[in-house]
Symmetry: C2
Subunit: 450 residues, 2 copies
């Protein structure tokens, strides 16, 4: 981002109140780039720059700003300025802005907006975060089923300025129940005198208001849709989710899953700009929980203290063995968690995958046992090599199976399978690895049980 240019050329233009020069400069940017640029200057300057823009472009840029910036900027704006923004934002972004405003400003700001629009915004803002309702827009395009294609094109031409997406058109009955859909492409390829009801599709993919946003996004991606209609419990059309919002949801979900996979709680914004205390809070919970998991490993080691005292060389192989179990387990857990998230793996696949994992883990365990038995023989002789090799096979197998099964078990318990993070699997594999290792050592080396 050309921050330097901004600070130089633009600042001077602002100082001499050269409205034309500022506008000309700003207009060269795409809205999303301008939003990024604004975040590099102080809030006051950002607000001033925003106000230079014509209101349509201003709303477009504002819609790309993160929540905390929206909050700071609106605090510095008058009610009139905010309601002007609200009117020009896409309906779904407008609803998000209502969430950002303090309760006591809602009424003052909404009062300046036309009744129908106000009610639509209120309704959109009322859906629970994370649902299809919360990410849909009410600016979609409907045409009556009875009119002709030619007439429908006229309708679309007239309403286009108010719709977020005009490439997928819906038809509803008198009760506003969704009955059909057709694309603008199909529309313009048909004869102008054809009736909509004869050319529309009645088989269509749709979702419920209360569906999870990631499931709605998955439908859009699976069926290559431009928009997904959202219906209420009475099958009435209440909104659409557009492909670009689905992309954002898919990206945010993937980020959340990756963070979960490393025991980090969901971050609302961007990691780079997250506050110190937020980062601390999102990370400390699992770190502390895992300490208690690791106490089991510690207790296992303490229990076998006499074996360690007799064969201190065994400790040399401890990190290597339990580490390998944790690593193989993390691999298996990640494959399953991501598979479930993308829909490639379903819960009913667990049996098939378990058998496959046993086969793959056997291969992994045998290869690694071969590698470490040489080191074992070198450092501790034949007996130690035998202990280390056998332990490796068992530990890799147990680690892999823990990694494979944990996401399915968590899902069964109604939890997010992504909670089966690499550190959690590693901790469980470590604890079982310690017990397996010393138990095998005691057995092969003919040591008395502690």
């Amino acid at each position: 981002m050309p921050t330097a240019i901004l600070n130089d050329y633009l600042r001077r233009a602002i100082e001499r109140k050269d409205y034309q020069a500022v506008l000309q400069f700003l207009e060269e940017f795409q809205a999303v780039d301008l939003a990024e640029l604004l975040q590099t200057v102080p809030v006051d300057a950002a607000r001033e720059l925003l106000m230079y823009l014509p209101v349509v472009q201003r709303a477009s840029v504002f819609g790309h700003l993160p929540v905390d910036w929206q909050s700071q900027l609106t605090t510095a704006m008058t009610d009139k300025e905010v309601s002007q923004l609200l009117r020009h934002l896409d309906a779904d972004e407008g609803a998000d802005l209502l969430h950002v405003l303090p309760e006591n400003r809602h009424d003052r700001v909404l009062r300046k907006i036309a009744h129908a629009e106000r009610e639509a915004l209120r309704r959109l803002a009322s859906y629970e975060e994370g649902t299809a309702g919360a990410i849909m827009t009410s600016d979609y395009m409907t045409v009556p089923a009875e009119i002709t294609v030619g007439k429908a094109l006229d309708v679309i031409r007239k309403s286009a300025p108010n719709a977020e997406l005009i490439y997928q058109i819906y038809t509803v009955d008198a009760q506003y129940r969704l009955i059909g859909t057709l694309s603008l492409r199909e529309l313009i390829m048909n004869k102008p005198e054809a009736r909509i009801k004869d050319v529309m599709t009645t088989e269509m993919v749709k979702t419920k208001l209360s569906a999870k946003q990631e499931d709605a996004a998955k439908l859009i991606s699976r069926y290559d849709l431009l928009s997904l209609p959202v219906v209420d419990d009475d099958e009435r059309l209440v909104g659409i989710i557009t492909y670009d919002d689905a992309m954002d949801v898919a990206e945010a979900e993937a980020t959340e899953d990756m963070h979960k996979g490393a025991t980090i709680g969901p971050l609302a914004g961007n990691f780079r700009d997250a506050r110190l205390f937020t980062l601390y809070r999102k990370r400390i919970v699992w770190l502390l929980l895992l300490v208690f998991g690791n106490l089991i490993s510690g207790a296992g080691i303490a229990y076998y203290e006499n074996i360690i005292a007799a064969y201190v060389v065994l400790v040399f192989f401890l990190p290597l063995l339990i580490g390998s179990g944790g690593n193989a387990g993390s691999q298996a857990a990640t494959l399953v968690v991501r598979g479930i998230a993308t829909g490639d793996v379903t819960i009913s696949d667990w049996r098939k995958l378990l058998l496959k994992e046993i086969a793959v883990a056997s291969g992994l365990g045998l290869t690694m046992a071969a590698a470490v038995s040489l080191i074992g023989a070198y450092r501790g002789g034949f007996d130690i090599a035998w202990v280390v090799a056998l332990s490796m096979i068992c530990i890799v197998m147990i680690g892999s199976l823990v990694g494979l099964c944990l996401p399915f078990i968590l899902n069964r318990l109604g939890w997010d399978p992504a909670t089966a993070s690499a550190p959690l699997v590693t901790t469980l594999a470590d604890a079982s690895g310690v017990l397996i290792y010393f138990w095998i050592a005691a057995w092969i080396l003919h040591l008395p049980a502690p």
Copy 2:
């Protein structure tokens, strides 16, 4: 998927050669669902079912099949059947099919296709995997800049059946250099007598043929595009990448990054259906590499054998301490790796993030030191509590900094930052953790250096 229904109703319809019944059944499905259904029956039956479909729908279903199914099905098809498919597939899918066919069939199959189409397919198939060229389609829509909006609509209406996406229209000059773009929405909202060159946008987002596919997908997501034009080194328009392909690329990239984050090599297909040996091969490499990393930890422990012999209680805290360093490090690495992948973090942010991580890791280390010092005091008295607490602070700090810096360092070396996997960070943190722990123990407990 209603596999049971397929096996029952459909099989009977096929057996009695009731073409109508089969077709009626198949037509109720969306192409992607039908492709999934086909994968539940033997290849021969799948081929037969596919052949029941009209060729347009057949191509659409075929395009949704995974590569190994495409390969098996085309092996069972005649050259004529394959070239018929090729003609009806979207250009980018057709190019992918050419990759699937054995070399010696290329010419035979392509000979049955019109010259222009054949050359377009050959060219598309020639771009390197993973580049913008490899995922673009040549079925895009151009109109001359000189014609009117009304005339352009006629052109679009006529060419719509051959274009993959008609909602974004491009204009090129005599040398086929990209000079402007406008959306179908803008087109129908303008007066029919307006000239294209007066209503089109000349500022546009585009990409090069050789750009990475994930970077192209990021542009589509960032600018909410329906399609991204791809130009060659002379700025000539050679294709477009559509939003739906960008969604697929983004999903595949996120999967690859998650797998890398757990030391799994890139899998071409779906994890559930991957072959045993493929899974083994993608997992064993890093598992073996990490064994050698863990040898450092083992060597560290062996080096301090006399300290362990003197204070066996120290081993109790070993998994807990080094585990915590690894976990905090995995968190930091994951935050950075995902941040770089989404573009939220850029390489130049490293200094800012380093300072933040020092602050956050201090908080994490202090909290965890407080927790474990109580356990330390309980099991080993004041001195041990002191050793454990101080070690925890240092280990969490070192682990976090390793996790934070590793992706930046890897990137600097020209490697993928996602190689900074949780297991790699854990292994590095373990090794340094062992050394830190025993060094601090030797110092506080006044033990002689080994």
